[in-house]
Symmetry: C2
């Protein structure tokens, strides 16, 4: 009953996951619930509070601190979420202050990509390594760099956005202002768009899998078609693998980490991508020993963000003391 | 007579510069001499030793430690230079051990780009800032990252090679294994090659400046022609500025430093490049506050590497104690 526990909260656009984690990284209890962000931040914080109370009771320990990993832009200084996009109505929500006042413990907030990377560095695929980069290839492409167990931050504490580095100026326009940034070339959104484009031009199994409705074709349908041997879908994944590989080469040239951890929806198709990604890295092995960088899939699955948020809470307490 | 002094050595392919630097960063004495690398490492180390003795006497202080910033690959663990390319015959030269044995003080070695960046971070254009990236655009393109006054190193202590990040896969092939890496697109070598290519196709002032010998056209001639209003040469610098800008955007997205310090031969034409480089950065200001990153020319000139090497010697002593 006297165990110290830290609460980790993974706050996404649709779901919130709350866990009670020990200083050794054991998850004693966790809850996963729909967030219903549209009901507003007040209702959301109440739901989160009741989940915190529940997992704290289940874990049977003493609550030490709360860490939040939140989707989208966060203001770490203000402890606020600034995210009307993935969390509609959540603008300037001082979630850190609200939870601190309610539970009378320190609280802190991180970008969700940073929190997940921290989790993987602490207890997952990059455990104990001095330099880890986590790359999330899903709807978008995100990167996070963990150095000696701490989140790397840019000037002013800002989260860096390596997913928007420019890889091919002849590529598609992105909302980030670039043409041919990594996300515009290799994200699930990009794969889906390339697949739809190809399906309008050529016969492909993808059209059949989408029951003739080209607009339904997405990265998942393309992956299914590629696995069944459709050459067009196969080509789309080859192209994605080449661009994923080029982005990884750049990360390796700039950071040379011990390990790159891959996650996100597109990485569910790692079997379709791996050989080609490794071939691209192998071709760029001259300036730095690129092939020594371990390339691993995330080890903590859906819990990475929650565990990392709990770790952020621990680090926050250490920092203050 | 009791001042503590640290020796900084900037060892390039043609010249060696040796200076006596105080813990406050004051250069008390320095010497710049041709190295004549081809005479072999033994002769080279003797020359360097006599320069060390001379500047130590001139400075009139107590020698504490020696730092070397060396062109090309260095093996920091072995303290050796591995550079038969820019220092012919210098292969596996244990310069650190030789100088340590001769002067009976600690000695250390760094890549020259890292040493110069350390100098700029300590006493130059990035003084006191937590995150500085130095970009050298000369014969090649090199990058170095200084974090809280220390050199960032990759796994195994390896120097990173951001100058070879891929920016445009439709670009020229590079010895690094990539097509369209930053160096292949924006280095002085690349600018010269583009200029010669253009001069074979179209009439240009560059041909006149090279006295009709197209093979003599290089980045310096292109810069001269651009300043005199030659549209072809102007276009070549516009293209170089665009690629320099794209590379800087990627560094900003991945590191978001307070400051980027520019140096190298091509940066002598900063007046031809600046407006366009800043425009490229301004177009990529959405994901991170790119326009807040200070873009500065190096402040220590030719002394950056020497001063940084002396600083590396100080840090080496601190690290050991």
């Amino acid at each position: 009953m006297n165990k110290e526990i830290f609460i980790g909260i993974d706050l996404g656009g649709t779901n919130v996951r709350v866990g009670a984690v020990t200083p050794e990284g054991e998850v004693l209890a966790s809850q996963d619930n729909p967030l219903e962000a549209r009901l507003g931040p007040q209702a959301g914080v109440e739901k989160i509070s009741s989940l915190i109370t529940r997992v704290t009771q289940q874990a049977g320990g003493r609550l030490q601190a709360i860490g939040i990993g939140s989707s989208g832009p966060v203001d770490r200084d203000l402890g606020a979420i600034q995210n009307p996009y993935t969390l509609p109505t959540w603008e300037n929500v001082d979630i850190v202050g609200m939870l601190r006042d309610k539970f009378h413990v320190p609280a802190t907030i991180e970008n969700d990509a940073d929190a997940a990377a921290l989790g993987e560095s602490w207890m997952g695929a990059g455990r104990g390594l001095p330099r880890l980069i986590m790359v999330t290839v899903g709807t978008g492409v995100g990167t996070a760099f963990i150095q000696n167990g701490l989140i790397y931050r840019g000037a002013g504490g800002v989260h860096c956005e390596g997913g928007h580095m420019i890889l091919d100026p002849s590529g598609p326009e992105c909302y980030c202002g670039a043409k041919g940034c990594w996300e515009s070339l290799a994200s699930g959104t990009a794969v889906g768009a390339f697949a739809r484009e190809q399906a309008t031009l050529h016969p492909t199994l993808m059209t059949e899998l989408a029951e003739g409705d080209l607009q339904r074709i997405d990265a998942a349908i393309a992956a299914e078609a590629a696995r069944r041997g459709d050459p067009l879908a196969r080509g789309i994944f080859d192209q994605a693998a080449d661009y994923i590989g080029l982005g990884l080469v750049n990360l390796i040239l700039l950071f040379l980490p011990e390990c790159i951890v891959l996650t996100g929806g597109v990485m569910r198709s790692f079997d379709l991508l791996e050989a080609r990604i490794r071939a691209v890295i192998g071709r760029h092995n001259i300036m730095v020993p690129a092939d020594r960088v371990a390339l691993r899939l995330a080890g903590l699955g859906q819990q990475a963000g929650m565990i990392g948020a709990a770790r952020a809470a621990m680090l926050h307490v250490d920092e203050k003391s």
